[in-house]
Symmetry: D2
Subunit: 366 residues, 4 copies
């Protein structure tokens, strides 16, 4: 099921950006959870276009409707179907892409795969597909929150504008307020200002930029994950690389960790607050594929938006060279809107592993 | 099935490093493929301990036996069971780890998860688990080779010793001979020499280093992958992060790509050799989650080996501070032996997606 | 994913009978298939309430809407989301079941499982859940039809009114016209009349009856299925027993076949029409879990409808004895409306296995 | 993964009857369970050839070896690999089947599917494949036993020799001693004698017979199962129809239940022993796909063994008519040896659903 994700807490997303609607079916949700459309809407509003002056000005209300799976405000344990009707569609804006492959978009590969494609807005590769993920993630994070888990994603770098190396302690957890203080979702105020400037400057040139999102998760118990294929970091990596525009993932020390020696990199065990802790956290909260109770820390790289308002060389669907002039209302930088999406995917992975862990290790005791 | 990988061409690995044996069951293999234990053994010998003077001197023959799934030298389409008996076990070498958690190993997390663990050699988190992956990968790559697919993994950096930026063309495919020319599996001779020196120097200090492996795959058709969760890069990321000691994955431009603008990063389409090609390959061979026919290019970060022959601070299983003095015969750098493992995992992902693609898009035409 | 079915051609159904809507997401559909809502509606109308005077008089239009997955009248290979809005809900009719467990319904077991339940109309155990299956099945059977596969389900017995033993040749395939000639969907006219009388008589007493549906499938190639767990008959058995009110499944000779000796039961091979055939078909078209090219023949037992308009003894949600008096508009016999559902589930199983077979056995040749 | 079964407690079987070995990998087993090879051997010995004078005289020790997944006599939560070496192979006995399709065997369908086959002993369709199921089932039933679940399968009919209708109370649970009292595993002594006579008489004519196995399970909690596709009876039906030689499955009232009216068939709720019970058990312990706490009761039909020692008409692999004269040492009736296999499959289904239920409904409470 290529459009499904998860083993026990599962989601199946469907819908194209320019079809009738976009949606998700959540299967396996624990019953009894109080949940309202309004709570889900809060997260959707964080990823919504038009929320600030540094993202696409498209006006999409993205109002979510719960079609099934709840009764009297609580989940029933049956599939939760969430739907968001598409609005503000301007298919005319996509006429050109019907016959030309947009560089670094999925137009060419879709046609290679399926033999045909829906050219309106990129079909399934549209960032609108992530609506379903964020909606489902809102439920997952609410469940995790009942156990004290806090998830915080934020931007550490836009283009080459980065939070200074020593401005964010390795064991800090930025507050939601700090992250949401600016539309760029960087908790370091001075850097946020510079990032916004950079995005505006690039947009004025019809260009785009990418960046890096970091996610920190506090409050996870030790024991989540699996030792081999479904390592916690492996499933997180898959989750993150399944997002549009992502090009890289690293956990803990990541690529930079390869510059350390083992004696520098190893996280010595110690006892703190009455439980086994590590003195450092190069592991990023995961050892041997399983959470160790320290903060989960990982980074995700987002490439610059492929849609730019400049003339580009390409090929048309008849295999002839062509020029393409980007049009439409696009994000010069998708990274700020990707912050809640990263959190949502992380929440889905973590809740799923929590349920898997409980099933195998807490159902029977001998 | 946490110890299984793949959707159609699937593997299930089993076994601890110090149990009776290690093995893999391959399910879904196309029938009729000529295959012998000797062919599989070639790949196993590439990951085997004791193969050179820069890896662990443990002597493990790792001789593979085919227990099922072939008849008269051909696969039958039924499960292929491969087993490697464990030898050269020295459990005494692991006595200390029975009571103390080795830093940055899985000892603590296993116990947190399962409530108990097999302390001999790290159990499932041992690198010996990858024997099954490499054995299965040998079959997958043979199938891919019949369609002209070439996989080449090699080391681009050990610690801070890296192939110079301009020494390897973006569109080059190092030969197997060049890679295997030295035990460090770096195709750039001068760099290889420096890497070997670094590994030996670090080993003499009882320390360890990590590095980066790059994998390039040539000959893939356009159309492999999925648009949403099972993007080709997502499944590759999962595959790579499921390997012991990995901390990061990036495809194409990766983290460095976030420093480019869209106008620099986009891969213009062009027509070359009568087919649609891209002028550059920042995408790394994948667009919208689906292969575009260009070389697949990705990097994997390996942390320094956790086992070092130095005194370390830790905690024992009773929660008391303790000191641990590493012993035994370990790799000062696992990266050279990880090269065939990276290739194996890549082959498994690609063959699986090939079969998935064919099932959906080539079985019925209308 | 407990609400999903299939490996490659997959469906996920969602929705309660008295929620806002009922729907299905089809994932893995081959691209390029011409399909319209009207074609799907034809099958839905065959299972719809109110279609004749022997089924429930509830008036549900059950109009299907395609929300995603098609473009210009063809499938795109992406998820097809189909939705049917619920109408004609009379929750008041279900007030009593809120506090009392209806005998042989799912009220008690749902509450035992989930700790709570949606009492309106039985929640997910409502026969309305099968709308999604029939809608998805309409697509599957259209694909199968392009390869010459014909599926025909029909009723062979209602209560003790059965088609005479010699009235239907073992190798006959009743026409759709013959089956649809009467609302009871029995292709033997005289038996159909008697069945209708029986249903009306039982209904007049506020009681209900069940029966047996037979399904015959012609035109399957040899080779579909799997040798072990996913035998074709195993997946068909699961599919059929997953339908509400089913109590049994048998293929080919079934339970009666246990009364034969091996020498009587074995299907001798012969050559007919230039290909290998069997002289008899006790196997029911499947040998060793794999289709042999003969007609697939299987039976499904449906118990009498649990909802009856008579006083029944039960227990309330406080564990106290209670009486329940059935109300509402229910089917005295669900079997006629189950005929298209059986066909739909058969089509889903067969198409899925076709794609699985092609993936493993026809993608690569050596 | 066509050779895998289960969602959380999973098994993957591999091996042909005439290859080097047969085995199973169990993944997802709860850690900490004390288990020995000897305990598993007990169940294997119940399905072993040569155990009595009414089954095949083949001498196969079927000695199981645990290759992984346990440490100091307890499961570790990692994959448990069990292997049984094949012995007493007489491939010569199978020479004829290399070129001729045995009627009602899988020879023809395997070749149609895979293009080739291992003709020695039927490959994967051999009953030896069930060794892995029984071995895994031994572990599953031990876990279930810790919660008070008792599984009892036994033969109710061989050919037309059946336990008299009133000789076994609907709510009785035959003891293991009563079942194992005779090699035919029928708990009704007089019927057992008649069954044995029938089997011997049929064998003396070179013929074979089938029969019906009933399985009763006591001590299940209410709440196991799923409402839609993975209904408990659906998964049991799949499990049973996945066994060689099975042609039918029915739960509770089964096919006979279709002859009752709803007013007769409904199981009235009542209060007994302080909990909600049903007065009758036509449902067979499952309502709406979910266990209701009553005894689970189901029947499985086994056809007469396809291998008979008589001359049969067939076709050879070149499509020419041929005669086949059965040879070798076969069971005139496989049903007695199938009894522990039915129990094993039931145990696997029930444990898997227990873990699934716990994961979704008992991990989080709100």
């Amino acid at each position: 099921m290529p459009n499904s994700f998860g083993t026990l807490f599962t989601i199946t997303t469907w819908g194209e950006s320019h079809g009738a609607a976009i949606g998700v079916v959540i299967d396996g949700c624990p019953p009894g959870l109080p949940i309202t459309a309004a709570e889900i809407q809060i997260e959707l509003d964080r990823r919504r276009p038009g929320q600030s002056d540094i993202v696409t000005p498209r006006k999409e209300a993205d109002a979510v409707e719960i079609l099934s799976g709840t009764y009297e405000g609580r989940t029933t344990g049956t599939p939760i179907s969430l739907v968001v009707r598409n609005t503000d569609q301007r298919p005319a804006a996509y006429d050109e892409m019907k016959d030309k492959y947009r560089p670094s978009h999925a137009d060419f590969t879709y046609e290679a795969k399926y033999g045909l494609r829906d050219p309106r807005g990129g079909g399934r590769s549209s960032a609108r597909e992530t609506i379903g993920r964020v909606a489902a993630g809102a439920i997952a994070r609410k469940i995790l929150a009942t156990r004290g888990v806090e998830l915080r994603a934020f931007i550490t770098r836009i283009h080459d504008v980065a939070i200074p190396a020593d401005a964010l302690a390795p064991d800090a957890l930025p507050t939601l307020a700090a992250i949401e203080a600016t539309p760029v979702r960087c908790p370091h105020p001075a850097t946020a200002v510079a990032m916004i400037e950079r995005i505006k400057a690039v947009r004025s040139e019809g260009d785009s930029v990418g960046g890096v999102i970091q996610c920190r998760v506090r409050g996870l118990p030790a024991g989540l994950g699996e030792p081999v294929f479904d390592r916690l970091e492996a499933d997180l990596a898959k989750a993150m690389l399944s997002l549009p525009a992502t090009k890289g993932f690293e956990i803990g020390s990541g690529f930079a960790g390869t510059l350390l020696r083992g004696s520098e990199h190893n996280d010595a065990f110690t006892v703190r607050d009455g439980r086994v802790r590590t003195a450092t956290n190069h592991s990023g909260g995961v050892q041997g594929g399983i959470s160790n109770g320290e903060d989960l820390v990982f980074n995700v790289a987002f490439k610059p938006t492929a849609t730019i308002l400049q003339k580009q060389q390409t090929v048309d669907t008849h295999g002839q060279p062509a020029e393409l002039m980007g049009k439409g209302r696009h994000d010069p930088c998708v990274v700020p809107r990707a912050v809640p999406i990263v959190e949502a995917m992380a929440a889905l992975v973590l809740l799923d592993h929590w349920m898997r862990h409980a099933a195998q290790n807490q159902t029977f005791t001998f």
